[in-house]
Symmetry: C2
Subunit: 213 residues, 2 copies
Amino acid sequence: MLDKAVVVLEALERGPLALSGLTTATRLPRATAHRLAAALEVHGLVRRDADGRFALGLRLVGLGREAAADLPVTEVARPVLEALRDETGESTQLYVRDGDRRVCLVSLESPHGLRTIVPVGASLPLDAGSAGRVLRGGAPAGARGGWVESVGEREAGVASVSAPVRDVAGSLLAAVSVSGPVERTSRSPGRRYGAAVVEAAAAVEAALGSAHA
Amino acid sequence: MLDKAVVVLEALERGPLALSGLTTATRLPRATAHRLAAALEVHGLVRRDADGRFALGLRLVGLGREAAADLPVTEVARPVLEALRDETGESTQLYVRDGDRRVCLVSLESPHGLRTIVPVGASLPLDAGSAGRVLRGGAPAGARGGWVESVGEREAGVASVSAPVRDVAGSLLAAVSVSGPVERTSRSPGRRYGAAVVEAAAAVEAALGSAHA
DNA sequence: ATGTTAGTCTCACATGATGAGACACGGCGG
DNA sequence: CCGCCGTGTCTCATCATGTGAGACTAACAT
């Protein structure tokens, strides 16, 4: 049943659906889809919107918040990424590794009209993008000033620079990223933002270190 | 099974747990708790942290984000609440009604050392607090300049002012709130912040109206 | 060595998930 | 008006699978 409940949640993740849409999206029989949605509704994981459609329940907001909050780096990194966004004028993100994916835990957007947008909670591959490479452990401590850059790897026209955040024992915790359109970042974003990103990662590390004191 | 899976998620919402802790928190037999956590782990709703404990899975971050995003008022209200926080110097929140509760969808904190903190996703009663009263429909359009205040109702020492956000058809969508310690807000917070809160609610409404155009 | 605790797996049995189909309702077309 | 179709909700016989006691493994303490 849990498997099917998750299928329902994933269908609703794309947007609210009436029962017939849910039936189509999940490939479940109407009665099964209805019953699962109703069962999820009892628990607040699904709700009925004003049009009577099924939608993801607001209980998930709190659960998602607590999931992110279990990683102390999330809140510690937020003000640092805000400053980095303001300093660079580009969008900034914090990623952590989740199995063979990376998940975005903090995402702050550039004020420019043209900007990169990564939703909080987005799950992205590790094999593309600078943050993916960082989180795979591909950032040798000394090489290239401690940052990794990518241009058009995960998405055409998007460049990024990332640096690792490590804990006091040296374990890789997260990646701090700046990303933006190639038009502004240039094809060598590392030259432009690398030092700032590394500095931000160090600030996160420092804040984490003091949070443990 | 779904009921029990939710019990597991709720147990982990309080923080990561080893299996024995999960067994205690859920009152489920060890094997059942283990199997449920493992099943949830397959779906990313639970993860194993660095210490091998079960924790809420990062998949929930994205689900929570999408749940909130299904309500357009959430993103529309964010910049307005940022400005309101900066203008008042107090914490600001956006609440929506969820059944017989209210859920906080946006929560921005005052820069003061002493501030109110409401977690995003927090589910609170409707029968206490200014936002609760607003969302119960207890804010007559003309009365008291369109705002509702409360002092120490939900939490001792905390005062708040809230105003309703309505859609173009006049239906109640959300409540905008300013809250802070009585020491700063005074026992008549409405006198101090009411106009700003109502103005913010109107700005949200205007932004919603233009988002539909 | 023995006992305890933590995590994981097995399996007989009971429970409840399942889905085809029934039912109710509303809207539309002939 | 009636019939049809689509939507949402409920029923119930069937059987798939969830359940938990207990077994097994590993690590740690005495």
